[in-house]
């Protein structure tokens, strides 16, 4: 007997992982850049 597999479950899970991970990486890289540049500007002002 063949196992019934819904292909869309796997497609949606792949897109959720790929898009979610990419979005988190973009947000993390931009936030850490802003934080570091703010810290540098504050160090210059001191």
């Amino acid at each position: 007997m063949r196992e019934a597999i819904d292909p869309w479950t796997f497609v949606v899970a792949s897109y959720a992982i790929g898009v979610g991970a990419t979005a988190m990486m973009i947000a993390w890289s931009l936030l850490s850049m802003k934080r570091a540049e703010k810290r540098r500007d504050e160090a210059r002002k001191r």
Partner: protein, 243 residues
């Protein structure tokens, strides 16, 4: 390349190039994924699961490209002592590792309906998993050398160059050994894929590559700013200690 050795010049370029790569990359990747998900046809044998290709292949390419970036930067650091090379290598590590992990996870999700198994220990999958462990090792070594006060530490750069041996192994693994994984569908100047699948796939690869470039530039700006703040605070502390 030595023109970019000056951090101030690099920052001038990165300030406009980073948002340009990021915005264009997000737009192109979103369009390509939407095309792949809603417009591209299902494949004759694999059915709807073929849509995973629009995420799996770009993430595999960027997982390998990230390490090639580390190797190229390591070479520039060792041979020319390029001041930004070490920073570029560090900036490539996290996005490279992340795309390698996404490639492994989407591959596993594709393997279950296509092959009937989540994982097999064949050449392609194992060498890709080795790449992920190489990234983890490189990041640990880079952090350890950053934390030590030994001065210019060459260990991460040497590791980056030696680890590049794994890239051709990944690429040729499907032709060297028996594998459930299919052989390369896209080679230089040739493609076994129909245009219906190839065009959104190439667009997805372009979009994710631009996002990768944008993230690397943002990481480089962050690492450079951290180093500049650290140097400024250290100089200030030293000058205050003298008086």
């Amino acid at each position: 390349m030595h023109g970019f050795a000056n951090p101030a010049r690099f920052l001038r370029i990165a300030r406009w190039l980073m948002p340009l790569c990021m915005v264009t990359g997000i737009a192109v990747a979103t369009g390509a994924l939407g095309w792949g998900l809603f417009e591209a046809p299902a494949e004759r044998l694999q059915g709807e699961t073929v849509r995973i290709v629009y995420l799996h292949v770009p993430s595999a390419w960027l997982g390998m490209a990230g390490w090639m970036g580390i190797a190229a930067a390591s070479f520039a650091e060792l041979v020319w002592r390029h001041p930004l090379a070490g920073i570029a290598a560090r900036a490539c590590a996290v996005p490279g590792a992340l795309f390698t992990a996404v490639c492994l996870m989407t591959g596993s999700l594709w393997g279950r309906p296509a092959w009937g198994t989540w994982w097999v220990w064949d050449g392609r999958l194992t060498s890709m998993l080795v790449l992920l462990f190489l990234y983890f090792g490189w990041m640990a070594l880079s952090q350890a050398s950053e934390a030590s006060d030994v001065g210019h530490n060459k260990a991460p750069a040497i590791f980056g160059l030696v680890g590049a041996v794994n890239i051709p192994i990944i690429h040729y693994s499907v032709t060297w050994w028996n594998s459930l994984h299919q052989p390369p569908s896209i080679t230089m100047g040739n493609s076994a894929m129909s245009g219906d699948f190839l065009v959104p796939l190439l667009l997805a690869m372009l979009g994710f590559t631009l996002i990768f470039a944008g993230v690397v530039l943002a990481r480089m700006r962050a690492i450079l700013a951290d180093q500049q703040a650290e140097a400024r605070l250290r100089r200030k502390a030293l000058s205050e200690a003298e008086f």
